[in-house]
């Protein structure tokens, strides 16, 4: 390989600075007893705010500091385990 190194438009993603969770009007609440661990919410979340935790109580959880409350997760959940609850 050559010694040439180009200037590339690359970056490593890290946690955002602005807490976009304050934008939320409705909040996704997961009923973990209904969850079938299909990962559809994790896959579809446009902001990657759903984390896989795999604990005894829950398989996934929402990072409310960044979730904007778009509702995509509730929409794609095949067993209707996520409901959108109005904030405050």
């Amino acid at each position: 390989m050559s010694e040439i190194s180009h200037i590339l438009p690359l970056s490593k993603p890290k946690e955002g600075i602005s807490k976009t969770g304050t934008w939320r009007l409705k909040k996704p609440v997961i009923d973990h007893s209904k969850c079938v661990k299909c990962l559809m919410c994790w896959l579809h979340c446009p902001e990657s705010t759903i984390d896989v935790v795999e604990s005894s109580e829950k398989f996934v959880e929402v990072n409310y500091e960044f979730c904007k409350g778009c509702g995509v997760c509730a929409n794609v959940c095949p067993v209707k385990a996520i409901s959108m609850v109005p904030e405050g």
């Binding site: 390989m1 050559s2 040439i4 200037i7 590339l8 438009p9 970056s11 993603p13």
Partner: protein, 393 residues
């Protein structure tokens, strides 16, 4: 070396070269006169002759986006388009150059509307010259096949790492059958190393490409690096063409090819399929006693400025044939030529002839006639009166 001569249209020559280059992903959206390239590749895949995925997309913008995505993940990827299809891709053309992802795309040059027209001129291809892609023009179908394979090697060279497009004239090459030597797979394998690229998207190691730079100066440096890498590509182009010559017996001079230039005083400069007619015109004019030679520019980007200047320096004049126009100025080849010849102190009169737009047929008689008048005018008056001439035939 064993020659395997097949009878191929320009489009089929592209398809064979893509197959021999072991491309893994091809996106396809139909547009005349490119369509038979991806049709042929689709046949190769269907019949098991080629191990690749073909993705049928809903637009040309997606065609290039798909190829860009596939290439980013570490495989050779290819698509082809023409005219309005290339116009629709334009955003992705810039994006893939800025992202430094090696891709090869074939452009079957076709007039841009309005009005609708499917015949060849170079407006679509030449309108891409600021993007940062390598741009190569083929004169005949053998050169089409050889150049596609060469282009994979050049674009994936670590000194370059930029996408490249190859132009072939609509119908004149794309749908015209010529004898073409199709090299052995083992020969192409020995010439093309396994895929190299500056970075690869992998699911376990997330990276972001194209995020807002915090400092615009970094962004400017990226654009500078695209330019510098294109200039650096000249050396790579020469090496690759020489090596291909050693393997196959065919080389094309790398950046430019000269025909009967050694004792010439006047030079015809052109690109594409009508360079073949220019060769005929040179022979005709030579037999009449005119000291004329031909410079075929093989690459438009990087522009072979010094190489051109070296040949033209000491001559008495040059005439650039453009098959497109930067409306309101002059032909794009002419603009590059006069800028660089002027800056490199090659003080010869240079004339621009804009012809063959919208597929208007231009014969070697037409070319010889225009060149004859140009030489006569310089010999008698010492200057060019009409330096941008539209020739309608």
């Amino acid at each position: 070396m064993k020659l395997v001569v097949m009878h191929l249209t320009g489009n089929y020559a592209v398809a064979w070269a893509v197959k021999l280059s072991r491309v893994k992903v091809v996106s396809a959206y139909p547009i005349t006169p490119q369509t038979t390239i991806v049709e042929k590749i689709s046949e190769f895949i269907e019949s098991g002759m080629m191990d690749a995925k073909i993705v049928r997309v809903e637009s040309e913008h997606s065609a290039l986006a798909t190829v860009f995505g596939a290439a980013s993940s570490g495989v050779r990827a290819f698509t082809a388009t023409s005219s309005h299809g290339l116009m629709y891709m334009y955003e992705m053309v810039w994006w893939s150059a800025g992202a430094r992802v090696p891709i090869v795309m074939a452009i079957v040059t076709r007039t841009i509307g309005a009005p609708w027209n499917i015949w060849s001129d170079h407006s679509d291809f030449m309108s891409q010259r600021d993007t940062g892609w390598l741009m190569i023009f083929a004169e005949h179908n053998q050169e089409v096949l050889d150049s596609v394979i060469q282009l994979f090697r050049i674009t994936e060279d670590p000194r370059v790492y930029l996408p490249g497009m190859i132009a072939l004239d609509a119908f004149i090459l794309s749908h015209t059958t010529e004898p073409v030597d199709v090299p052995d797979q083992s020969l192409v394998d020995s010439f093309l190393p396994s895929r190299r690229q500056p970075y690869t998207f992998k699911s376990g190691d997330p990276i972001t490409m194209g995020n807002l730079p915090s400092n615009p100066r970094d962004n400017m440096k990226m654009r500078w690096d695209v330019h510098e890498s294109l200039v650096a590509a000249k050396k790579v182009i020469m090496e690759v063409d020489r090596e291909w010559g050693e393997l196959t017996g065919r080389s094309y001079g790398g950046l430019i090819e000269c025909y009967r230039c050694s004792d010439a005083k006047y030079f015809i400069i052109g690109v594409g399929a009508w360079v073949g007619d220019m060769r005929e015109a040179v022979d005709m004019l030579r037999s009449e006693g005119y000291e004329v030679g031909l410079i075929k520019l093989r690459f438009v980007r990087p522009f072979p400025a010094e190489e051109l200047a070296e040949v033209v320096r000491g001559g008495k004049g040059a005439i650039v044939f453009d098959r497109s126009v930067s409306a309101g100025s002059a032909g794009p080849l002419y603009l590059d030529t006069v800028a660089h010849l002027g800056a490199l102190n090659v003080g010869v009169p240079v004339k621009n002839v804009i012809a063959g737009i919208a597929g208007v047929d231009v014969t070697y008689n037409d070319i010889a006639g225009v060149v004859r008048s140009f030489i006569e005018e310089i010999e008698s008056k010492g200057v060019v009166s009409n330096y941008v001439e539209w020739y309608f035939g």
